[in-house]
Assembly symmetry: C2
């Protein structure tokens, strides 16, 4: 199929915009645009305005840097949460993933990136200083490092670890190991090796 | 996974809107929303406004009912096209598909639907009267029925055929048969049967 002809520049424009989204090809973009065209004007406006408002009106919590509707987010202001524990994550999505597990009742700190010299991202480009300030000023007893098990994650973990070591705070990192439900034979050697080194008392595994 | 918690109602709203689109689940909707959040405000507005304008400002050609930026579409006003031949299709997308083949140089007529008693769609609900008017008033020599090979398509074809029979116009329908590139064994019996009944001179097949 050669260059696709569009009967309307408005349609072409909508297809172009949809195609910019990750994982949306031009064929899907056309299908989505024609779907919108079949909706009422009110529905189409609700859709478009939701996207414009999302970007224009979003706030970032000035404590943990998670997205929020308010200056300080609902997690940070929730008195039922353990304000002595901070879980450090790379991005918003990680907060949502951990919240979905319902296993963590502390607060978060969203770095907004990860140290990656290859991509020109240094410690100053992400929210590390504000993390250190929080530990310095608030009564934090534990910082959980919950970054990806990549070289960049390890580098960032180590940098934060060094910066926080002068403070009287426990620093932990999430466990690496064989995924729940996985057979040993499918785990890679590094993961399997780490899971043996970091073995835990069986009584703890029963919790 | 139980009910997903969103850190911001703006994000939740965007995810809800994306999820309404066909084939977009909540997980993809979240991915797309977070992508938009990472774009500049200008980019996000371009995206949202493209969708609003598409629905609000779209025009339909008053001759063929295809979508258009102008009162009469670019196909209908193109003097290079054969204005004596009308290809009848169900929707806008069919026009685009046929245009992409570059095999048709006549005009179109978009019905905007298909006769379907089960769905409560009768002849009066789609653009059949305006087709008959065109045949009556313009010098049309051939009407090509290019509807889907379904019961509804056949019903609509037959209805139009009867309505147009008083006029001096050739009525044809697109060929049904074994798809180009397909092995006989993969064609269903009905299609194979029709392709034998409607066989053509081999010299014509060579064109």
């Amino acid at each position: 199929m050669s260059h696709q002809q569009y009967p309307s520049s408005l349609l072409e424009n909508a297809v172009n915009e949809f195609s910019k989204l990750p994982g949306i090809g031009r064929k899907t973009a056309l299908r989505l645009s024609l779907y919108l065209l079949r909706q009422s004007e009110v529905e189409a406006e609700k859709f478009g305005n939701a996207m414009i408002q999302l970007r224009r009106e979003i706030k970032y919590c000035r404590v943990c840097h998670n997205i929020s509707d308010t200056d300080v987010c609902q997690i940070c202001t929730n008195p039922a949460r353990d304000s002595k524990t901070i879980c450090v994550v790379e991005n918003i999505r990680d907060v949502m993933s951990i919240e979905n597990t319902q296993q963590f009742k502390g607060l978060y700190h969203v770095l907004g990136g990860i140290i990656s010299p290859m991509d020109g991202v240094g410690p100053g480009d992400i929210e590390i200083n504000s993390l250190i300030e929080r530990v310095e000023k608030e009564k934090i007893s534990e910082v959980i490092l919950a970054l990806g098990a990549t070289m960049e994650g390890d580098t960032t973990n180590f940098y934060i670890y060094r910066k926080l070591s002068p403070f009287n705070v426990r620093i932990t990192t999430i466990a690496r190991g064989v995924a729940v439900g996985d057979e040993l034979e499918y785990a890679d050697e590094l993961t399997l090796g780490r899971s043996i080194l970091n073995r835990i008392d069986f009584s703890n595994a029963l919790r």
